[in-house]
Symmetry: C2
């Protein structure tokens, strides 16, 4: 079993699983969006990372998922399993980093849980809203659509501060045919988008951040840029990187040559 | 800093923090309830516990919080940090245990996150609903109210399967003046209820489960029975254990003698 086959087995039980957020109808004019993301010592940050940066990243990962659906984040729940190294001072800095980003986007801290274990584990849940039926899904890309990213890629090894692309996400409502954020690497995430849409993807060129290699941009993950498609001629922000084509669902080429999926899979890292 | 002073520091930033669930107004006839609970290897279960029991417990902890507010659980999000010992077979059993309990209460599995670390960590978030303004809070107990529990206490060392008291919680709507679930032990949880209500508590007798000691019932935690108060004369289910009285907020006596708070505090177990 790998991460995607496992998630597919859950999706058979529950069809709302599988996009960046779960979309839940509410009685008002809005749908509710829910997303939850772990931030774990040794996996998502190194022991030397400052507590405020960890707090920022923990929140930014979930806000990025709300952005990927075109939504507006409203409430945040932060659950922490404290480790021996997370003393009171560390914890206060962590919350400063987290709440600064929440306040910038008008999101209310609404709760969480506290526990402890041997490594620091944070789980952030964000609830957002979007106009009914307008959530950007992964499944709407059609042959002929242009593939875009919201910015240059290859970010992870270059330790950029994550900027959740909320404004761009909202601009894509009614325009993008499919959208997700790049958290596990372009090659794996575009594969997922193409698979969900039942199409293939032909990449032409990939914008790199300064110092990044093409391999890093394809496979490293943690870019947190948006990846989306739109009909040719629709005016959207971002950088065009290729075209959606007919073909075996989920297959990707770059300049005509097959691109393997080497993105991050937590099932492969278990042992 | 201990767990309660830390949560109080968060509450100063966000007044909706501090009850069993966050209560969020929605545009419809219902309020939304949110709760999130960790279930961690070595803290909440032992390595030899069966995977199906772990899955049951992970979900039951959050359903108990919904019960404590009088709510009805609707959607569940399960996030897992896999460890080397959680192989595919373990994981399938875990989900069997979790989904069996969800299905019994008509709750939809709606998403989650997957990661990995050295010990298995599960975080379960449940979203529930309750009629607008009807959520049972911790803060409404008044002198003269009778204190009740939904069943006998001292459960933790006796490894009972948690039964979330959802039906009893719903029966308390409009009747209980305050309510919470007992997760950290009667002495600490009743202290929190009394503190939130600005009152003191005089315990008279405590019902014990077979084989449990009074000390276990007061301090062990993990009972997951409901603890609630109601005006004398109001007909509610459960077992009367004492009376709310005037006095220094949060103080508790049993048969006239002070009861110290020895319940579980994760801040004290960090290192």
């Amino acid at each position: 079993m790998n991460e995607d086959t496992f998630i597919n087995s859950l999706r058979r039980r529950s069809p709302i699983i599988g996009d960046d957020c779960a979309v839940i109808a509410s009685p008002g004019a809005k749908d509710l969006l829910f997303t939850t993301d772990f931030t774990i010592e040794g996996i998502h940050f190194r022991a030397k990372t400052s507590a405020a940066e960890v707090g920022h990243k923990a929140v930014a990962r979930s806000l990025s998922d709300i952005a990927a659906m075109g939504g507006t984040p409203r409430y945040c729940f932060i659950s922490l399993a404290l480790s021996p190294s997370t003393n009171d001072r560390w914890l206060n800095s962590f919350y400063r980093g987290a709440t600064r980003l929440l306040e910038r986007h008008g999101v209310k801290l609404a709760g969480g849980d506290i526990s402890h274990t041997s490594v620091f584990v944070c789980d952030v849940m964000v609830c957002g809203t979007i106009a009914k039926g307008q959530a950007l899904l992964r499944s709407g890309a059609r042959p002929g659509d242009v593939i875009y990213v919201s910015g240059p890629l290859g970010g992870w090894r270059h330790k950029r501060t994550i900027v959740p692309r909320l404004e761009i996400g909202r601009q894509l409502i009614g325009k993008a045919t499919a959208c997700m954020d790049i958290s596990d690497g372009l090659s794996l995430d575009l594969h997922r988008l193409a698979l969900a849409s039942g199409v293939a993807a032909a990449l032409e060129s990939i914008p790199l951040i300064k110092g990044a290699s093409l391999r890093q941009a394809l496979d490293d993950g943690e870019d947190y840029e948006l990846l989306y498609t739109a009909r040719r001629g629709t005016h959207v922000p971002g950088i065009g990187i290729g075209t959606i084509v007919k073909g075996k669902p989920g297959t990707i080429t770059l300049s005509g040559r097959p691109v393997p999926q080497r993105g991050y899979d937590h099932f492969q890292h278990r042992s």
